[in-house]
């Protein structure tokens, strides 16, 4: 069994788990951002991972970076309902 730390889907999944898990059980927004960025470094065409990165920045309180990330997602997939809903939530 060959280990491969270059699977972008796994890094994105890890990022979602860091983001969604309560802090007392290991959740960590900074680590989730690192994981999403690592995932995107391996494959920057994943529009949904850009949206998750935006959500992580939003949770961290960095609305500017969150907007940038969600705009990147929309440039990749303009019809993405997930990206559009996240963009809308950033404007509230």
């Amino acid at each position: 069994m060959a280990l491969d730390g270059k699977n972008p889907r796994v890094w994105a999944s890890l990022g979602r788990q860091y983001l969604m898990t309560p802090k007392m059980f290991g959740g960590d927004v900074a680590k989730s951002i690192e994981s999403f960025q690592k995932s995107l470094a391996f494959d920057s065409s994943q529009d949904q991972t850009w949206v998750w990165l935006a959500k992580a920045f939003q949770k961290q309180g960095d609305t500017g970076k969150a907007r940038e990330a969600v705009q990147h997602a929309l440039s990749l997939n303009p019809g993405s309902r997930f990206a559009l809903a996240t963009a809308a939530s950033l404007e509230k």
Partner: protein, 174 residues
């Protein structure tokens, strides 16, 4: 000199394969052969169009009936079920979302039973458990993860912590 009738199907098959590899603008690759509906699954993810998803689901179920030991087909089916889940969540249809997530988990588990070295399948299953908890079905998810525990939810979170700790190690080439 004409071509015999029996050679027509073979010629058509060769032409079909040649047109597919040229016409789609993508080189024929081993991964495309391993995952014949991969492009269609990705297209359905981008649109989340329900009719497209229904058609894809039917095709996958038909292919699974013919190839019941193909881990990749179950993984694709799990992804399609997850996209249904997205649609139902956006529609705020909790009942349909609950059913979709259970079907997605079943398909992802079946994929892992057939190929337990797939990082994609393990990470998808972890995501699905996370989503099941956020749907408010934590008790059911906890039961499947920690059947002997009386205090199921804390143990479920410990399982999630283990997934976090082992995440990168699950990433293996498939």
């Amino acid at each position: 000199m004409g071509m015999s009738k029996s050679s027509y199907p073979r010629l058509l098959a060769v032409l079909y394969v040649a047109l597919l590899s040229i016409g789609l603008g993508a080189p024929a690759s081993a991964s495309a052969a391993d995952d014949p509906l991969g492009t269609a699954v990705e297209a359905a993810r981008r649109t989340h169009d329900e009719k497209q998803l229904q058609s894809l689901k039917a095709q996958l179920e038909q292919m699974i009936a013919q190839n019941p030991n193909d881990a990749g087909l179950y993984l694709d089916l799990a992804r399609v079920q997850e996209y249904f889940l997205d649609v139902y969540e956006m529609r705020k249809d909790k009942k349909a979302a609950g059913e979709a997530i259970d079907k997605a988990i079943d398909a992802a588990q079946r994929s892992i039973q057939l190929n337990d070295k797939s990082g994609d399948a393990h990470s998808l299953l972890a995501d699905l458990y996370g989503r099941k908890m956020s749907l408010g079905n934590a008790m059911f998810a906890a039961r499947s993860l920690a059947p002997r525990s009386k205090r199921r939810t804390p143990r479920l979170w410990r399982s999630m912590a283990r997934i976090l700790a082992c995440g990168p190690a699950l990433a293996v080439n498939t």
